[in-house]
């Protein structure tokens, strides 16, 4: 889109009715301002990184987007209840009845609308799957639908534990135990993979699921990834460890899947490069490329949620994370909300030269689109330039507006809309390496077994290989890799640090490893849902 074409067009339009004599001057002037778009490439929505789901399953797949990368549902609860992120009260801003302070401090209760949204988003997906399953589907579609449903139930299991298992459209069922939900998810996944159990030598020839690298379609590797994650957390869900099976499942993906880590040489164009800012890189490489707005063909993706600013909306990180003024850095459509801040301790867990640190955070003094200082007229200090400080003075009541590094892993693009284009991974190869490393170590009781996988990821990140590692070290490494991927809460629970104290969070209630059943659901359920213990 060339500005000249625009202006010529306008001028010819106006010639018919208006004298255009001094219009040219104005336009010339406009072209010389800092907002010239010479050399800027505007991406018109994302192209798709593969085959889209079949029509019948489109509504069910679309439900994956709900709450997975926006404010107020699954993503928010996973991130803010963990030690990754917080939503500080910034004076008059972001108090919101204290629900986010309570989410971070683990004093949340059942009426917090976030939980209701998680619940509704999951059952909305399950409803669509059940509706699709009640029609006629090909064996492949049926297997995909069941995998999707198993995924939604896994989320419910991980967040709430005791939920209703509904498998038919219009059906109802009593509230199941965590064990029953676990068993259901496991048997559904084993069913679609055509196996009776995960073993060291898997034969998936009986599965109707595909094996191609199509990240928008759940295939065998996606189902196995989910099974590996389920087994890795089995001890938390049911009290019975299943690490060996998790190891086998993850190993099968790594050994047989058509995926590779996106490392050196794996690049995409940097859509956030400002013409006037020389220090903006032309391209994003390696880890940063995996999460970029144009990440749709990334070789690491096993299963991703397709987001698109136009046709697949729901990712709003630029709005949620940025200070209001950062709109002018990227020339965004909408003013951001100045919300999510990265907990300082988490930010500091990265080594200085870790490429993931650069990719994952926006910190320091900020520049605008034209490369000038980005101004914040409501600055708390006399310096008008916006400066994101890793240190956050306090969680409430006056968390400084510029405090906290801002999550930027799912990176941005110039002229971005409120909706973003980045695809959001459910499973990617890097994560599977971590799954295998941990499962193998836990199965054998020896954390050094995780080193090959861990070091493969560290190598990509440009940091030195580790020679030894323990549980805490592994969790930290996992955190650095999986930041912003809705993984931290589950990981902290598994490693037993979810009830620990950090920063302003001191509550140590063990029962909070599952969220409360949403009060709105209990109220509407005519007594068929009961609250989780402790709430």
């Amino acid at each position: 889109m060339n500005r000249f074409i625009k202006l010529t067009f306008v001028c010819s339009m106006l010639f018919t009715a208006y004298s255009c004599t001094d219009l040219d001057e104005v336009l010339e002037d406009e072209l010389t301002t800092e907002f010239s778009d010479d050399g800027v490439v505007v991406i018109e929505g994302a192209t798709d990184g593969g085959i889209l789901p079949s029509g019948t399953l489109t509504p069910a797949y679309n439900r994956l987007r709900n709450g997975s990368a926006g404010h107020g549902s699954y993503y928010s609860a996973q991130e803010v209840s963990s030690d990754e992120m917080a939503l500080g009260q910034k004076g008059g801003d972001w108090f919101d009845g204290g629900i986010w302070l309570r989410m971070h401090r683990h004093t949340f209760d059942s009426s917090n609308g976030t939980f209701n949204n998680i619940w509704n988003d999951a059952y909305g997906g399950i409803g669509e799957v059940n509706l699709a399953l009640s029609g006629s589907l090909s064996p492949s579609e049926e297997a995909q639908a069941k995998t999707l449903r198993a995924f939604f139930y896994w989320r419910l299991l991980d967040n709430f534990g005791r939920v209703k298992i509904i498998t038919t459209a219009g059906g109802d069922a009593p509230q199941a135990t965590s064990q029953q939900v676990f068993d259901f998810v496991e048997s559904e996944l084993l069913g679609v993979l055509g196996i009776g159990a995960v073993t060291s030598s898997l034969d998936l020839s009986g599965s109707a699921l595909g094996t191609a690298a199509e990240p928008y379609i759940v295939g065998q590797y996606a189902a196995l990834g989910l099974l590996a994650k389920l087994y890795l957390n089995a001890e938390v869900y049911t009290g019975t460890a299943r690490y060996q099976e998790a190891d086998w499942a993850a190993t099968y993906i790594i050994d047989n899947g058509p995926y590779q880590l996106c490392a050196d040489g794996c690049t995409v164009q940097n859509l956030a490069k400002r013409p006037a800012v020389a220090s903006d890189p032309d391209n994003l490489e390696g880890y940063a490329a995996v999460f970029a707005p144009n990440n749709q063909f990334n070789p690491e993706m096993i299963w991703s949620i397709r987001y698109d600013a136009v046709s697949a909306t729901g990712m709003n990180f630029s709005q949620m994370n940025f200070h209001y003024s950062t709109q002018l850095t990227y020339a965004l459509d909408q003013q951001p909300w100045n919300g999510y801040q990265v907990v300082e301790e988490f930010y500091n867990s990265y080594e200085a030269n870790d490429k993931r640190k650069t990719a994952n955070f926006l910190v320091g003094p900020q520049l605008d689109f034209g490369g000038n200082a980005l101004l914040d007229f409501a600055a708390d200090d006399p310096d008008l330039q916006l400066n994101y400080t890793p240190a956050i003075n306090e969680l409430e009541p006056n968390s400084l507006r510029e405090s906290g590094a801002r999550a930027a892993k799912f990176s941005f693009q110039l002229f971005g809309r409120q909706e973003m284009n980045n695809d959001y991974p459910i499973f990617r190869l890097g994560q599977v390496h971590l799954l295998r490393a941990e499962a193998r170590s836990r199965a054998a009781g020896d954390w050094s077994l995780s080193l090959p996988d861990v070091n493969a990821l560290r190598d990509r990140a440009g940091v030195a290989a580790l020679s030894s590692i323990d549980a805490a070290g592994f969790l930290a490494e996992r955190g650095r890799e999986m930041f912003q991927e809705s993984s931290r809460r589950t990981d902290q629970i598994r490693f037993g640090t979810f009830d620990d104290s950090w920063w302003e969070k001191t509550n140590s209630d063990a029962f909070r490893s599952v969220f409360p059943i949403p009060q709105a659901q209990i109220d509407a359920s005519s007594g068929s849902l009961t609250q989780n213990p402790g709430y």
């Binding site: 909305g124 509706l131 046709s311 009541p397 006056n398």
Partner: protein, 995 residues
């Protein structure tokens, strides 16, 4: 009664029309016991020749046959016929008509007399209407009808008032009363100019409204427009008004010096933003009406022009309205035909209420123009205006008001045709047909340089144009017959029965697009083809909707019996069906019965004209707020960018085929007492609303992932009392002074609520989302403000210390625990007043007259949202202005909702003061001239620190950062939001000339 008179007149007219006699001029004076009587109609019987008496009671008629008979008539006096007998002077004295009780009262599908009324009905005539410039006809009644609440918070000339009759009548159904204009249902009150209205009758209780079945739940307002009279001479009148409105009250904010002293950020200028976006608004109204009549027909034609300005710059409207009323008789007077039509065209500049909101919270040291900024500022980008970049929810109010456009046109055309055929003296039938077309075309335009919604900071996608058009077509067909028979001297029976059919067709479309060329000062909403949004996927917002054949069909019957002219019985039934309900639940039955007895007929008390007791019970219904709620919806999913496959999946709303009528059952006990000087009416009522329609959260797991559904979800009970008193304190030749009091009080309890207890009315951003301030709890009163209690002390952080209300040593004040037993919240006030009172005075002295209306509401509170957000001295908010009411405390530095922001809002207001003088002109061209001066909203006595203490009866949700208002929530009264228009004070000069 008047009707009979006309009939007689015409009868004699036909008899006499063949007589040819000598013509002469007759003059004379008409008097009553109180002296000369102005305004008496004097007509030569059987002709259209006539005149009215002037202010000295004098009249003069030319061309009067020497054997003619003059008919003298005036409302409130017995009509007198006097033969001329060749005299040139005929003086007449008229007797007061003691039969005011026979005054005709319009009720549904017919009329009755005042004494026969068995239900709670209040009728207000033109002489009692509120004076001054009134753009919205309902405001004629503000403070005049007990139990009828009309609030137009702030008085934006483009917004309609919220009307409530006896409190909340429905939760999810339609909340506005049904309007019937000259007997025709479903026509818009917006199409009636207030100056054309002769009388408004309000059917208050269920037994009165049940004949209208649906939509009667929120009450029925029957409007009678002015008309001509048979035999009336041609007459033209002019009525003009000129008014000036100014800000009545505003919330206090800081000026530059105070702001800086409080730690505000200095941007170098000194701007009174409120002053910049408001003005003294000048409005002009002209009404011209012509009336006349022959012996068999009459007409009235009026044209009304209004040019109204709002106190917000750039707001107001121009309106043109013309109304025609024709009535005639034919077929030996057996067939009467009425034809009414009206056309309204209104061009509105809605302006931006947001300009008022941001004027309150904008930095008082900020300059208006960017050129005056204390630092380098690229003002060209913002059309030369300054903007505080980097702030959430902060826009230069002057730029909002001056750069953007928000305007619309409304066209309404309607007509109705009524045929009434009298088969015999006892039996008549009516057929009426009416149609109304309404079209609204609204546009908003935000130029490329507007920061507010115009995206001026975006380097490329600047500017925005919105287009909204809807069209509503209404058709009504009604057929009914009336049988009226005196069975014996003591027993009169009247039976009415009929059929009613209404259909509404609706369609709308909306278009929003932007990305207009920068650097060109041109309104691109007239040239949207240059929008670059057309070239980019997903940029253009376009949607359209249509629902046709939204029908209501009804059969109805009513019987009235009068026994011994002392006992009055009334029963009605309506069976009604609406296409909005589930297939098996479309029909409902709405019965009513009432009895009234004039006890004085038995007691025969001295000096008492009437002592009536009446008891009525009636059932009315309410329909859902939209069509299709009982039906299944489908969501259509498109493939990517229009490619790929499409599919239908679950829709957004769970169908409810069992959705049925919401019913209101109301019992009303009333007493009426009247002497020559005192009249009093007392009504007590109990109403139960059962199966109210509301959107209920449902168990998502058991409902395929649907989260809500429209259900018949609960019950409300309202008990109330209404009293009106009127007393003629002085009544003599020179001076009359009448004073009246209208009192009403009610209490509404949420008896049952399927949706479960909850809190509602989210305060909003910044920072107070998930902060619901109104409690909805089964078994409790509607409209309780709910929250933590401020102790009066503040901690070191500037955070208010809250009170451990239940004293358990554990302070629980998070919103998430709002409904828990251990929460330290309490009821901080109530949104609905305990009682409302108005006090009227009406005074005449010679040619002078004066009317005064004091109005007040007591016992209600308001959440002062401006204070809750912007009064705390928050350091990081130092670029917003601070609210600085008398309650402001510099030590509070954290914004958190508490009892501190809930204020009692009792008030007394001098709502209307009007003084008029009638000039005796009496020349050949002008009969009389009246000049009046009216003040509206002259002063308010209240402790409330916000702009307007009027109750907020419903809530439209939190709005911020340029968003739009939500749906009305009637369960959340009591929140004074940040988007209300400022209250205005209006002074009006009126001129009335009769030619």
């Amino acid at each position: 009664m008047k009707f009979n008179l006309l009939k007689q007149l015409m009868f004699f007219g036909i008899m006499l029309c063949s007589s040819v006699m000598l013509a002469q001029t007759v003059t004379g004076t008409v008097t009553s016991n109180d002296g000369p009587l102005p305004g008496v109609s004097v007509i030569v019987k059987g002709t259209s020749n006539g005149a009215s008496t002037d202010f000295d009671g004098k009249y003069s008629i030319d061309n009067v046959a020497s054997d003619a008979v003059l008919v003298f008539s005036s409302i409130g006096y017995t009509t007198k016929e006097v033969p001329v007998n060749g005299q040139s002077t005929v003086d007449v004295k008229l007797e007061e008509d003691a039969q005011a009780l026979d005054e005709v009262v319009v009720v549904g599908y017919g009329s009755t007399t005042r004494k026969e009324v068995t239900t709670a009905v209040t009728s207000v005539g033109e002489e009692d209407f509120n004076k001054g410039v009134i753009a919205d006809a309902t405001q004629l009644l503000q403070g005049k009808v007990a139990g009828l609440t009309i609030y137009n918070k702030g008085g934006n000339p483009n917004s309609n008032a919220t009307i409530r009759l006896r409190g909340i009548s429905t939760v999810g159904g339609n909340t506005e009363p049904l309007v019937v204009i000259d007997g025709v249902l479903g026509q818009s009150l917006s199409n009636v100019d207030p100056s054309d209205i002769e009388n408004i009758t309000v059917l208050k209780d269920g037994s009165a409204a049940a004949i209208y079945g649906t939509r009667g739940s929120s009450g029925v307002i029957l409007v009678t427009t002015k008309s001509g009279k048979n035999g009336q001479p041609f007459n033209v009148s002019y009525n003009g008004q000129f008014s000036v409105a100014s800000i009545g009250n505003q919330i206090d904010v800081m000026d530059r010096a105070t702001f800086l002293a409080t730690g505000g950020t200095d941007l170098g200028a000194d701007t009174d933003w409120i002053d910049e976006v408001t003005r003294n608004a000048v409005s002009k109204v002209h009404n011209i009406a012509a009336v006349g009549g022959t012996e068999s027909a009459n007409y009235r034609v009026s044209a009304n022009f209004r040019d109204t300005e709002g106190i917000l710059i750039g707001s107001g409207f121009d309106q043109f309205n013309v109304r025609t009323k024709l009535s005639g008789k034919m077929l030996n007077d057996k067939l009467k035909i009425d034809f009414n039509s009206s056309l309204t065209q209104r061009d509105s500049d809605f302006g931006f209420n947001e300009a008022l909101r941001y004027a309150v919270l904008y930095n008082p040291t900020a300059p208006i123009l960017g050129a005056d900024a204390p630092f380098a500022f690229n003002a060209d980008q913002f059309g030369g205006f300054f903007e505080t970049l980097g702030l959430f929810d902060s826009f230069n109010p002057v730029s909002i008001a001056k750069q953007n456009k928000n305007y619309g046109t409304r066209n309404i055309l309607n007509y109705s045709l009524d045929f009434r055929y009298s088969f015999t003296d006892d039996l008549s039938a009516n057929l009426s047909f009416g149609e109304q077309n309404e079209k609204n075309t609204n546009r908003q335009y935000y130029p490329v340089t507007s920061f507010f919604r115009g995206n001026a900071v975006s380097p490329f996608r600047k500017g925005r144009a919105d287009f909204f058009t809807n069209e509503i077509r209404n058709k009504t067909l009604e057929l009914f017959a009336t049988y009226n028979k005196s069975i014996s001297d003591n027993f009169i029976l009247k039976v009415t029965g009929g059929y009613s059919w209404q259909e509404t067709d609706y369609n709308e479309y909306f278009l929003q697009l932007g990305d207009f060329p920068p650097g060109v000062n041109f309104d691109f909403s007239d040239n949207i083809e240059v929008s670059q949004d057309l070239l980019e996927a997903g940029r253009v917002v376009a949607n359209s909707g249509r629902n046709d054949d939204d029908r209501i069909i009804a059969f109805f019957a009513r019987a009235n019996a009068t026994i011994n002219d002392a006992i009055y019985l009334n029963a009605s039934i309506r069976r009604e069906g609406s296409s909005r309900f589930g297939e098996d639940e479309q029909w409902g039955i709405f019965p009513a019965a009432a009895i009234g007895a004039d006890l004085n007929k038995f007691l025969d008390l001295d000096n008492v004209n009437l002592l009536k007791a009446r008891l009525g019970y009636g059932v009315t219904g309410a329909i859902p707020p939209g069509v299709g709620l009982s039906q299944t919806t489908f969501g259509v999913t498109n493939g990517s960018n229009g490619f790929g496959s499409s599919s239908t999946g679950l829709g957004s709303r769970k169908a409810n085929p069992a959705l049925k009528w919401e019913e209101k059952r109301e019992l009303n006990l009333g007493f009426e007492f009247e002497t020559d000087r005192l009249s009093a009416t007392l009504d007590l009522y109990n109403r139960d609303i059962v199966d109210f329609i509301t959107n209920v959260n449902i168990d998502a797991a058991a409902n395929d992932g649907f989260t809500s559904q429209f259900q018949n979800g609960g019950e409300l009970n309202t008990k109330g009392i209404e009293l009106s008193l009127n007393y003629d304190i002085v009544k003599n030749d020179k001076l009359t002074y009448n004073s009246g009091i209208i009192f009403s009080s009610y209490k509404t309890i949420l008896e049952k609520n399927t949706g479960g207890d909850r809190t509602t009315a989210n305060l909003g951003a910044p920072g107070q989302n998930s902060t619901n301030v109104i409690l909805v709890r089964e078994g409790e009163e509607v409209g309780q403000i709910w929250g933590p209690v401020f102790s009066g002390d503040v901690d070191a952080n500037g955070t208010p210390i809250l009170v451990d209300v239940n004293g358990d040593g554990n302070l629980v004040t998070d919103q998430g625990s709002a409904l828990n037993d251990d929460v330290d919240f309490k009821v901080l006030g109530k949104g609905i007043p305990d009682f409302e009172l108005s006090w009227t005075h009406s005074l005449t002295y010679g040619n002078w007259d004066a009317n005064v209306l004091f109005r007040g509401a007591f016992g209600h509170s308001l959440v002062n949202a401006f204070r809750a957000f912007y009064e705390p001295r928050i350091g990081s908010q130092s670029s917003y202005n601070f609210i600085n009411t008398s309650l402001a405390r510099n030590d509070i530095r954290t914004a958190q909702f508490s009892s501190y922001y809930v204020e009692k809002a009792d008030f007394v207001r001098l709502d209307n003061l009007s003084i008029g003088y009638n000039f005796d002109v009496n020349n050949d061209y002008i009969k009389n001239i009246r000049v009046s001066l009216t003040g509206q909203n002259l002063f308010t006595i209240t402790d409330y620190t916000g702009a307007d203490p009027e109750p907020a009866l419903q809530d439209f949700g939190a709005v911020d950062n340029g968003g739009n208002l939500g749906q009305a929530n009637v369960l959340a009264p009591g929140v004074d939001r940040r988007y209300n228009y400022f209250a205005s004070r209006v002074i009006t000069l009126g001129l009335n000339i009769n030619f």
